[in-house]
Homo-oligomer: 346 residues x 2
Amino acid sequence: MFARMVLTKPYLLFLGDARDQLAAKTAQGIVDWRPEWCVGQLRLPNCKADCGLPDLSIQEAVARGAKTMVVGVANAGGVLPEHWVTTIVEALAAGLDVATGLHKRLADLPAIAAAAQRHGRTLHDVRFSTLALPTGKGSKRAGQRLLTVGTDCSCGKKYTALALEKGLRAAGVKADFCATGQTGVLIAERGLAIDAVVADFISGAVEHIAKANDADHWDVIEGQGSLFHPSFAGVTLGLLHGAQPDLFVVCHEPTRTAMRGVLHPLPTIQQVIDLTLQLGRLTNPAIQCLGIALNTEALDHAAAADLLAKTGRNHGLPCVDPIRTGVAPLVEALLHRFPGGRPVGG
Amino acid sequence: MFARMVLTKPYLLFLGDARDQLAAKTAQGIVDWRPEWCVGQLRLPNCKADCGLPDLSIQEAVARGAKTMVVGVANAGGVLPEHWVTTIVEALAAGLDVATGLHKRLADLPAIAAAAQRHGRTLHDVRFSTLALPTGKGSKRAGQRLLTVGTDCSCGKKYTALALEKGLRAAGVKADFCATGQTGVLIAERGLAIDAVVADFISGAVEHIAKANDADHWDVIEGQGSLFHPSFAGVTLGLLHGAQPDLFVVCHEPTRTAMRGVLHPLPTIQQVIDLTLQLGRLTNPAIQCLGIALNTEALDHAAAADLLAKTGRNHGLPCVDPIRTGVAPLVEALLHRFPGGRPVGG
């Protein structure tokens, strides 16, 4: 847990040799929400991602004032490939701090630990927490909570939650984004990477980062994985139980055919709604689905508009693309169900 | 992961000030399955547990040949209370190694680390693994698997799995117990405490300890927690997905009214069967319920016999108490569905 997890700015974003744009979602998240923190990107040969920043060498980044190199690539398993070590050591030698959100600790790699010490630089392992967490209790606590869930990994749960925090605040509702992944923690500079917590404490960790609060306060909790993802459903379920959400929003990427990293087909939006309601009732019997957020980036404008309208109609729920249309319909629907953001009868 | 996790024997079992018999389930598991390894038990004032071994002081245990003191108390959160430190330091000073299955590492407590070094003793943190685990893949692998699941924590999942290993082997079926908790690891001297794994790797860890095997080989995998337990359901689901069981047995303690450590009521056996089938199909569409194992320790013989018969009849499944009746009906039912232990059509 990072009460505050603050890095020295601005950043050079390291994209490594990301195998596709999604693999660089940590870098993209920082660019989307904190562009003012980023001076450029560093890409290795064969990098398939591009975050639209100037391509800089380490020396060029230093010349433009960069203070920290953030490893902006997330891969299944959170491994740090051997061939990135050279670049990281070079960045440390050039005077940059280095931050990652991988499962491997930077300081566990002797070459990196030695370089950091030699050059007096700081290593940040954003995914790690030293906090002694309690196990989850499952008892209903005060305050309102909204969780983003998904048909898969990497389909817009973090972006939707951040957009909802912004939209709710603009509507005068007390709302706080609760980061549960390394990118969210890098953007919010607080929160906890829930997938790096020891398994016994998943729901307890969420109870800890989204504590009891004012009756009309909304924690907007970033979801992780999918209840239908064979690698990560355990994390998703523990997160659902710990979040005990009053509302959830289903995030979906409509052009994807298989779940990320495995051979399993995507579930339907309706399957995710049904299973989230069924399993979420364990810690909040009043759980409801608020709406749907599609990531229509791969569609043209007409196809996207058509799909958003059709999906909303089919489910009888507001359906938005947080990037293309914004989340106003979700904020309106929340205020319709909870006038003034207050609990029903509260 | 401990390819082999071998402690020096025999053991003095430390029960601390266990708040009830269940809190000492690690010690009880060792006494049940490896009595020949135990010379006695050490209990602090107010200890509510008794494993039926001679009560010994550390000096008396050493005189009887004890080589390792095993902390046999499991508490929610796996914390090591401050006031146990004195006893552990005393044991190290008297020449014993010390082993625990708690979430807190012994060596992280300076007084214990110093005493171990001073006296040249070894500290064993059975719950920890240094293995680099992969994330789960969810693809069906060769070999047969049976998982014990439960209506709650601490209701007989480990005991049932160990009894099934023994029963299957006696029937000529190739079978191996796969430990997933600290007690199981202490008994089997291999396996992995799944609740101490980093959350992203729960299902991957189970895929690792119950690897692809001969088509007629059965891994009998120890279950953890309950899909209905608000603290631990995430672990249970990841374990179910990684185990991809062909068969499961539901374990239940019929006199319990609330789930262990929380205020939630127990689910019914039927609810556990239904949800395990529903969620287990993600990684094994052919999953079936084999039968039920009741822990009838709190009932008299007539009441137990009556309940076992009634529960079996109501569910149309074999129903046993592994301690009172043995697991022969479950082994027979397995051989009926899978003649010779072989996969159907295999």
